[in-house]
Amino acid sequence: MRKSLSKVMKPVLALSLFGTILAGCGGGSNDGASSSNSGSSTNSTTGTVKLKGIMLKHPLTQELSKMEWLTKVEEQVGVDIEWQEISADWDQKKGALLAGGDIPDILIGPNVITDADFAQFTGLFQDLTELISTGGPNVQQMFTEKPETKLIATQLDGKIYGLPKYQRFWPDTVSRQYINKQWLDNLGLKEPTNWDELYNVLLAFKEKDANGDGDINDEIPMDFAPVGTTGFGYFQPQILLGSLGITLTDSSGQGYFTEGGQIKNYFVDDRYKQFVEFMNKCWQAGLINPEAFTQDYSKFQSVARGSGDKAKVGFSWGWEVTDRFGNTLAPQYESIAPLKVSADSNIKMSYDYDGYSLNFGGNMVVMSAKSKNKEAAMKFINELYNPTVSMQVLFGSLGTNIKDNGDGSYAVLPPADSQMDPGTWKWTSTWADNGPTFISDSLKLTLGTDMQSVGKQTEPLQAVLSAIDKDKDILPSMFIKYNPEDNNAMVLVNTNMINLAMSKFSQWVTKGGIDKEWDSYVSNIKQMGLDNNLSTMQKYYDDYKSKK
C-alpha cells in the first residue's frame, strides 16, 4: 500500500479520471440547456441570476443566509448565490476540486486560490482585466487610490485572476511584547529596556515569588508560541532579532529578510547566532517554559490565562492583551518597547513589520472561467468593493454591528452580548478579514474597543516601526510573483533548509552547542542551495524595485 500519498492522490486521481470519463461522454456538448459546472438559470419573472459560490469562513462565523448586508447586496445587484460554506481543510479539498475542474462561479476567502494555483491550473480561472474596465468601477477606484492593490493583483503575464483587499486600520505589526507590570511592582523592578535587563527581570520572576501566592515555583518567566517544524511564526522569539537591526517581514518564518536592498537569510547570519546564544542562556537558567517546544497553541494560550486573578506568565508576545491573557488578567500586563541588545549598544533597532500583510491581502475573490454569467458575477464582486459595503463585510451589518451617524460617518458598535469580546463578535457576525474589502482612506469610521486597544498597545513600538526604511529594509513578498520553475526550485531548497534550521534552533536553545556546530551548519545550508535562492529572490526584488 502506498501510504500518505495514495491517501491524498486517490480522490484526486479518481476525480480527474471520473472527469475524463464524463468529458468523454459529454463530448463537449455545451449548447445544452443546463450545464453541470455552473448551474445557471435566469428566473424570467424577477430577472435574478442564480450563481454558485464558495466562501472560506472562520469556524465561528454564522451562516451566510443570516447576514443582512449580504442578502441586501444580492438583491440589489439581482443575483441569488447558492453558497457552499467551508471552514476547515480547504487546502486538502482544494486540490481535488481544482484537479476535477468543476468549480463554482465565485470563490471567496483569504488567498483562496494562490498564485501558484493560477500558474498550474491554467484556463480554469477568469482573467478579470476586461470585466473590471467595463463593470468594476469600485475596483478601479481601489486601484487608483491604492496602487499597491493593483500590484498585488497583477500576475507575471499581466493578467488579473484574483482581486485583493485593503483594510486600512490594522497596525504595523502582529506581535506586541507584554510584561507583567504587577510582578515588576511586587519585586520592585523596572521595565526592561535591553536583553541584559530582560534576563535579570526574568531571573527575578523565576527565583522569587513574583505573583505573591507563597509558591516560588509556579511562575513561567517567558513563554512563546510553539515553534513548528515548517519555520518560525508570529509570537515567537525570533522577534528579538530586531534588537540586532534585522527587520523581519511577516515574521520571516523561513529566514528571508531585506537589508539595504539586499536579500539575506538570518539562518546563516552571525546575529542569529548571538540571538540563539541568548535564548540558550535563558533556557539554561530555567527562564523559558519547559514545554515551549512541545505544547500546542491552545495550551500556550490557556497557560497565560493563569487561574483566577493569579498570573502564570511573566513575559510573552501576543496580538492584543485581552486575547493573550484573558479579561481578568489583562490589566496586570503592559506592552513594552523594542529591546536593545545591551545598554551601550548603538545598533539601529528594528522590529517585525507586517503592515502590508495586515492591511492588504491577495486573491480574496476569484471567478471561474466557465461561468455562464460573468457580468452578473462581476456586478456582485464590484458591489463588495463599495466602501460602505466593504465596511459591513469587515465588521458586520449596519444596524446590528455598525451605527450610521447620519452625517456620513459611522461607528462600530460593541457586541450585543456583553459577555463576548469585540473580536469574537466580528468573526461571528460576518466574513470579517476573510472577505474582499476596500476600506477607503476617506471613509469616516470609528473603530470598536478591540481595534482601539490594539492601536494603543502598538504605541510603545511605533517609533521603531515608523523609523524602518520601507523602501530598502522590507521584503515585499506580497507584491512579487515567481514563475513556477523558480518557485519549485526554491521550495525544494527551503524545505530542506527549514528542516535543518528548525531542529538545530530547538537543539541549540535547549542543549547549547551552537559555537561548535555553527560553521558546519552554515556550510550545510549553503550546500543545499541557499545562495541560488537568494540570487533568484534578488533578481525578482530588483525587478520589482525598477518597476515601482
Binding site: S4, K10, L17, Q120, T122, E291, V491, N499, T510
Partner: protein, 309 residues
C-alpha cells in the same frame, strides 16, 4: 507459469461451477480492489511526467526518471531513509512478537469470564483514533502536568521531556503502538490456538509435561503458519510508517529522527503542489516494500513450505 491446457481449463470451469456461491460472495471485495487499487494505478505515470493541468493527467511532458533522481540526490534522502527504516524495523521487531506472547498468556487463563474480560480490556485501545492517542500521549507525558512525565522525572531524577528528545521519540512511538494494538492483533492467534485439539494437552500431561513445555511444544507449533503469513504481510509495510502518528508527534526538537518519507512527501507534495515529485517518492517507497515482501515470501517458501503464493 505453464500455459493453460484444455484439461486445466475444464477443471477451473468445474471448480467455478462448484463454488459459485463463494465467488458471488467475494465479488464486492474484488470490485472494491479494482476501483480503489487498480484503476488509480493509471496515475503512476505522473511520477514520470510533469504535471500539467490543462493537458490532463497523462498530458504532461515525459521526464523519465528525473523526479526519482531528484529524490535520491536530495540532501535529506539518507536521513529520511534511515528514520523511516529505524521506525519501521523497531515497530516490527518489538511489535510483532507482542500479540503472540499476549495470546499465549491469555490462553493460559482458565476462567472463561476472566479471559473474556481481559481480552476486551486489551483490545479496547485499538479503537482510539490516532489524533486522540497522540493527544493522550501529550497529556500523560507532559513534564509539567503529565502523570507519567512527572513520575519519570521523579524516578530518574532528570527533567527529561519525553515528547521532545531525539532519544525518546522511537521508544515512545513504538511502546504506545504496542499498547494500542497488541490486544487487537492477538485475536487471530487466539483463534488459531482455539483449534488445538484438547487431546494433545491430555497426552502431554500424561507424559509429564509442565505448562511451559506445553506452550513450547503444542501452542507455538500450532501458531507457526499464522505467524509466518502475518510476518510476510508485515514486510510489505517495511517502509510504510504511518503518516498520521509520526506527523502528529513531530516537533522541532525530535525532527532529526521523526522526519520520515511520508511526512516529507506531505511537506513537499501537498503543501507546495509538487505532484509529480511526490508521486515519484511514493512509487519509490512502494517498489522497495514490494521487493521486501517478495523476498520474504521466497525465503519462507524455500524453508518452510508456507507462503502467500
Amino acid at each position: 507459469m505453464s500455459s493453460i491446457t484444455p484439461k486445466k481449463y475444464r477443471r477451473n470451469l468445474m471448480e467455478l461451477k462448484r463454488d459459485y456461491q463463494l465467488w458471488v460472495m467475494i465479488i464486492p471485495a474484488i470490485v472494491v480492489v479494482i476501483i480503489f487499487n487498480y484503476i488509480p494505478m493509471y496515475g503512476i505515470q505522473l511520477a514520470f511526467r510533469d504535471y500539467d493541468f490543462s493537458r490532463g493527467l497523462a498530458g504532461g511532458a515525459w521526464r523519465g526518471l528525473h523526479y526519482f533522481s531528484q529524490f535520491i540526490n536530495n540532501y535529506q534522502f539518507w536521513d529520511l531513509m534511515r528514520n523511516t527504516v529505524i521506525i519501521s524495523i523497531t515497530t516490527i521487531v518489538l511489535g510483532f512478537p507482542a500479540p503472540i506472547i499476549l495470546a499465549l498468556i491469555l490462553n493460559q487463563v482458565k476462567w472463561f469470564r476472566t479471559k473474556k474480560l481481559l481480552q476486551t480490556i486489551v483490545y479496547m485501545p485499538h479503537f482510539i483514533s490516532i489524533v486522540v492517542m497522540v493527544g493522550l500521549l501529550n497529556v500523560l507525558l507532559s513534564p509539567n502536568t503529565g502523570i507519567l512525565g512527572q513520575l519519570i522525572s521523579k524516578l530518574g531524577d532528570t527533567d527529561i521531556n519525553l515528547l521532545a528528545s531525539t532519544n525518546s521519540f522511537v521508544p515512545v512511538f513504538v511502546i504506545s503502538d504496542i499498547w494500542q494494538h497488541a490486544g487487537w492483533n492477538s485475536i487471530i492467534y487466539l483463534a488459531a490456538l482455539s483449534t488445538v485439539s484438547p487431546s494433545l494437552y491430555d497426552a502431554a500431561k500424561i507424559d509429564g509435561a509442565n505448562k511451559w513445555k506445553m506452550i513450547l511444544h503444542i501452542d507455538i507449533p500450532a501458531l507457526v503458519p499464522t505467524i509466518i503469513i502475518l510476518f510476510i504481510l508485515s514486510m510489505g509495510n517495511v517502509l510504510g510508517t504511518g503518516f498520521e502518528k509520526v506527523f502528529l508527534m513531530q516537533n522541532s526538537l525530535n525532527l532529526p529522527v521523526s522526519e520520515v518519507i511520508s511526512t516529507y512527501v506531505y511537506k513537499i507534495g501537498i503543501l507546495s503542489n509538487q505532484f509529480s515529485y511526490s508521486s515519484a517518492i511514493g512509487l519509490f517507497n512502494t517498489v522497495i516494500n514490494f521487493f521486501f515482501l517478495v523476498t520474504m515470501n521466497w525465503i519462507s517458501k524455500r524453508n518452510s513450505e508456507i507462503s502467500l503464493w
